[in-house]
């Protein structure tokens, strides 16, 4: 079963039908013509926006067909690292890491905290976890976001412009984390979305799809 399947998908801002498949367990990338298209792809994958036509299938289900009540449990299977990190600014970094686990997983607080600590160690977060995210650099925010996603142990990881706008050294750290996590958890699908193909050139990907401006890759 493919992790992601797009069949003749037309969506707002992208008129030509997009068709591609990302197999389960693959390390793949989709190069979008613009950052807006990358953001839209994330929204389509999570069922936040719906396509104009065609079929989107993620982890065996069509997000557009999931009823409102089921979306929450569907989304917890997908970890997303956004360009801005997507942290909640009135929660400390540590609270941000724990938030989805505390909200979704019916496990003990001790286990949640252990998972959080483990995820922070895995990504090598060196900042103060008791700070509010506003005090962190963009790189640190993305690291924290990566840790938050890893802690949830999702089936699909989506890195939306993970490496753009950072120093080469920081890009390397984030990419290494993503690759190490992918290799360490067979069966997990990792998808890089980017509008800056030069940032993913050094990654050894199983698949790289290019969505042409207004056309199919």
């Amino acid at each position: 079963m493919p992790a992601i399947k797009f069949e003749h998908v037309v969506f707002t801002g992208y008129s030509a039908p997009a068709t591609f498949t990302v197999e389960t367990g693959a390390l793949a990338a989709v190069v979008a013509p613009t950052q807006e298209i990358s953001d839209l792809l994330v929204r389509l994958l999570l069922g936040i926006s719906n396509q104009v036509s065609g079929t989107v299938e993620v982890l065996g289900v069509e997000p557009a067909e999931i009823p409102e009540r089921g979306l929450s449990s569907f989304r917890q299977q997908i970890g997303v690292v956004n360009p801005t990190g997507g942290l909640i600014f009135n929660l400390k970094v540590w609270e941000n890491i724990l938030l989805p686990m505390e909200y979704h997983l019916g496990i003990s607080q001790k286990e949640i905290e252990e998972r959080g600590e483990e995820a922070l160690r895995t990504v090598g977060f060196g900042g103060d976890v008791h700070e509010l995210p506003g005090h962190l650099s963009l790189f640190e925010q993305r690291l924290a976001s990566q840790a938050r996603s890893f802690a949830m142990q999702p089936a699909l990881l989506v890195y939306n412009e993970l490496l753009g706008g950072l120093r080469e050294e920081d890009q390397g750290r984030l990419a290494d984390n993503a690759l190490a996590y992918h290799r360490g958890r067979p069966g997990t699908t990792s998808l890089f979305l980017t509008a800056q193909p030069e940032t993913i050139r050094s990654l050894s990907l199983d698949q790289c799809l290019v969505l042409e401006r207004g056309g199919n890759g």
Partner: protein, 260 residues
């Protein structure tokens, strides 16, 4: 004709706004039940934080205000009825503080302190993409951000009203006993002649109602912003004005209800 049309449009807009608020309050109770069933710790944390910010942090200003209001009212009563009428003073104080001023003044302070904060915070979160981040995490904005704020503000308002009413009544007595040698016995008799469990409950219900309305108006305005930061102060101002108007309207209706 055009004027009638405009008035009609405005009325239907107001009605649909009120219905929206009602829906928000009702769905908050539904969300609260499901959060309790599923033991959502983060939701409880947001609720407790809201009670802390709107309730505990406002205690000092509420107590100061209650003392001043208690003093002002007792001074007026004494100047009209004379210093010897301790019974009447206690009776009138209870009547005015419990039925009217307690819930109303506390609501006004909460609107000024927390209403603006909630509207501005939610607007900022929406514009900054944090609400979308929550959606991406599978955490519903209504259940995580809105419901605990609505219930937190309502809880805080009820607590603050209790503090306000007790302080105003005791503070009033203190001033009356020092200024006009009103005996505690008489003052107390006056209070208990009109203080019934039903009256206390009605006062607290009124407070809870004000809290639900204020919080839902502020949340709704916070959620309605678009993408520009200039909309944040606009949302806060609108939230304050609408909350004040609705609280005064509700207060008027409830006071009429007492009479009928």
């Amino acid at each position: 004709m055009r004027l009638a049309g405009a008035i009609g449009d405005r009325l239907s807009e107001t009605l649909s706004g009120l219905l929206e608020l009602g829906e928000m309050i009702i769905s908050s109770f539904g969300d609260a039940v499901s959060a309790m069933k599923e033991r959502r710790r983060p939701v409880l944390n947001v609720y407790l934080r809201q009670v802390y910010f709107s309730g505990l942090e406002a205690v000092r200003i509420i107590l100061a205000m209650a003392l001043i209001i208690g003093t002002v009212i007792i001074a007026q009563i004494a100047s009209i009825a004379g210093g010897t009428s301790g019974f009447l003073a206690g009776k009138l104080m209870t009547w005015i503080i419990l039925r009217e001023l307690g819930p109303l003044l506390v609501a006004i302070i909460v609107i000024a302190r927390s209403g603006t904060a909630v509207a501005a915070e939610l607007s900022q979160m929406k514009i900054g993409g944090e609400m979308e981040s929550l959606t991406i995490l599978g955490i519903p904005v209504g259940g995580y951000l809105v419901m605990p704020r609505i219930l937190g503000i309502a809880t805080a308002l009820v607590m603050l009203t209790i503090y306000f009413e007790v302080t105003a009544l005791l503070g009033g007595f203190l001033v009356a006993s020092i200024g006009w040698n009103v005996p505690f016995e008489l003052y107390q008799q006056g209070i208990f002649s009109v203080l019934t469990p039903g009256g206390v409950l009605a006062s607290l219900m009124k407070s809870a109602m004000f809290g639900l309305v204020v919080a839902s108006v502020c949340c709704s305005n916070g959620l309605k912003v678009g993408r520009s930061v200039t909309q944040i102060p606009q949302a806060a101002t609108r939230a304050v004005m609408q909350s004040l108007l609705l609280v005064l309207l509700l207060d008027g209706l409830m006071s009429l209800g007492y009479l009928l």
